[in-house]
Symmetry: C2
Subunit: 420 residues, 2 copies
């Protein structure tokens, strides 16, 4: 029986096939995401993977339904697997807004789902780091969020030679639109054309722009000039103070597809420009009010960073560390009359926090030793009977080949010290 | 807008309401699960939360459909949110069986879903630690798995005064059934009666047993005698060698509801007996063959441990640690002309691995200090201009109230040392 198309299995390393996904690489990524978010003072939350369909259509309109993994449940409810986290965040904060001091800085690592037309290799699920700041309208919050994005990528070994965060502003485009007498009814359509500029042919873009009373020339001149708004200047100033200036550039090509963004927006890309965006986000000051039905009104901003493009980039740069069992000790049981005592030693070592493996059933010495090597154990230990039947532990360092013979109590101590 | 009935939101601490679920308590639990499983040499895997419906009906028959969260997707496929992890594990190992050395020791922390009739407070999802050993039929594997279960609970602060693993055997009951001339066609029905013995009235149980040619008296005598089979003796012997004897007892009341168990079975309970089972599992030697359509045949055993009952027990015993922001440093910015330099210091501290917060916008001194206290920061730091405009860092330990004035470079070093 096969898994569903567009879904992934995650296997332990070493992977049987390079096309498979690694559960341990995923945990490595999640660990970094979590650690850096916490360093920035972000707190973790999560919601259900399944929500009322209405939660997602309220925000993005009925047209999003075509991309949703939605269905009718046994109770007759219209429900959907979550395609994004922001509506859940808005729902959660609205329910308990007064209990949390502003600004609220929250993160989550949800699995998200989309039911798009099946294309070869196109996934229907991915994991995403979502980080949001609620209740602060100053550009200092945008800078803090972008700094988090940059430091998450740096913590994975990526540098300013590998990626750049392209920073733009809905407000800058809004002003451009007004300055050139655009018709308010067409503004979102105009934003959509800008969003597709880099993917569409210039003739097609120009034609579409002209229909709204603009020209590609005008638009390109504005992008080329790339003059930062006061808001963007404040963000740049803040990031410069942190020493992160080389990781950002003003780039008005970025505008973000979704309707609800209101201020600064940004996307991070690999510098070779071969991959889709690594992360993207921006301000969405009106959304909490919309989703809470007017109950709560908070300025807000956030970004999402998916696991698929990021792991692709890390693999390409050789930045996924060797992930193995992380075994500290393999206990060799060569004398079966010592199995009970060996189990006792294994228990002691594990209780001390060491990762320990052994052969569950009697096996030849060389087979046990080979298994220890396959599992990349740091040490082997072996109980040996010495004078007058007393027991000692022989410790072997599999890297240096050093051996020593010690009492059981000393063995635990020494192995713990060697690990740290 | 409300979340769906039976689903949980997970909030950051401190929780606005005691009935809410804590994302940080959940992460604490997952962290312990993961750490102890790794100590035992188990490797992580995961599969999709959504699988073909057939994967679950193959194993447990059509009658399980009533409890599944299943539906028809947009491609006309019959699919289901996973109610348990074992079928996914069997599917995954069958696809790449030759690539993994036996015994395979794998764990996962899936979210599982059931659509049961809605009862007050009854959840439709939970998380579960799943640990399985594949490819080893010796009782040493059962002992290793039960030892893991015990040590996971011990790592959370629970002792042999808090819980016990009740150990039983399908084989023992199978032998009992044959010895008393049971009709093979009725064996599963007989197991179901045993499974419900502790929850049903004795008259009702006796009546049901008599219909199959047994009596409650016979059954109770067998349970009371509780003579361990050779297999169970081997498991007890192994656990005794590890010093874990006090955590287990033979108890033939346990038989496990599901059809597919084949050998030793067990469940862990709180000793007060107030809660549902904390964990349960056993051997299912025929299942991999069944699910793989005969492609792969591996003896197997595993257990599941849910987050709901366990968190309930930990809360009751006061064993959930105080979970707060874990903030190392709050940076006070009292002189706004020093904001850029303060951001630089914050960046340095965070890069060194410290969790640092600060006020995004200008705020009064006492308000900033109050926020530092609310977030339970270990230290505050504050840049101060000293002679000739040079800058020093004033560090304050919020516990001891000790203050010191140092150079920025020294500040990072000292704060990192204080944390470790």
């Amino acid at each position: 029986m096969e898994r569903l198309p567009g879904f992934r299995d995650f296997y332990p390393e070493p992977l049987p096939h390079p096309d498979l996904w690694s559960a341990e690489a995923r945990q490595y990524l999640f660990g970094k995401w979590r650690a850096v978010a916490r360093r920035y003072g972000f707190r973790e939350y999560d919601g259900p993977p399944l929500e009322p369909l209405e939660l997602f259509t309220t925000k993005s309109g009925e047209e999003i339904v075509g991309q949703l993994y939605h269905f009718t449940d046994k109770g007759g409810r219209e429900v959907s697997l979550r395609p994004e986290m922001t509506p859940t965040l808005a729902r959660m904060i609205s329910a308990h807004e007064r209990s949390y001091k502003k600004p609220v800085k929250w993160f989550a690592i949800p699995q998200l789902f989309r039911y798009e037309r099946q294309q070869k290799g196109r996934l229907r699920e991915h994991f995403q780091l979502n980080a949001d700041i609620l209740g602060e309208s100053a550009p200092a919050a945008d800078a803090e969020l972008i700094a988090l994005l940059i430091d998450v990528l740096r913590s994975l070994g990526l540098t300013d030679r590998d990626f750049v965060a392209r920073l733009s502003s809905r407000n800058a485009w809004h002003d451009f639109f007004l300055r050139h007498q655009g018709d308010a009814a067409n503004e979102y359509e105009f934003f959509q054309i800008i969003d597709k500029l880099e993917r569409e042919g210039p003739e097609s873009s120009d034609e579409k722009l002209r229909r709204l009373g603009f020209s590609l020339e005008q638009v390109n001149a504005f992008i080329e000039k790339g003059e930062p708004t006061a808001e963007l200047q404040a963000i740049l100033h803040d990031l410069t103070a942190r020493g992160l200036k080389d990781f950002v550039q003003i780039d008005y090509h970025i505008i973000r597809g979704l309707a609800y963004y209101t201020g600064p927006v940004f996307e991070a890309f690999d510098k070779k420009g071969e991959l889709r965006a690594i992360a993207g986000g921006g301000r969405y000051d009106g959304l909490i009010k919309l989703i809470s039905g007017g109950k709560v009104n908070l300025p807000a901003l956030g970004f999402g960073m998916g696991d698929v493009v990021l792991l692709e980039l890390l693999k390409e740069r050789g930045l996924v560390p060797q992930l193995d069992a992380g075994l500290d000790v393999f206990c060799l049981i060569e004398d079966e009359t010592l199995r009970a005592e060996s189990l006792n030693l294994i228990q002691t070592l594990r209780t001390a926090g060491l990762a320990v493996e052994y052969a569950l059933t009697p096996a030849k010495s060389d087979k046990q030793f080979k298994r220890a090597q396959e599992l990349k154990a740091a040490h082997t230990v072996r109980l040996e009977r010495v004078s007058a039947g007393s027991l000692k532990v022989k410790i072997k360092n599999l890297q240096s080949r050093d051996e020593s013979m010690v009492d059981a109590a000393v063995a635990t101590e020494r192995l713990c010290a060697n690990r740290a």
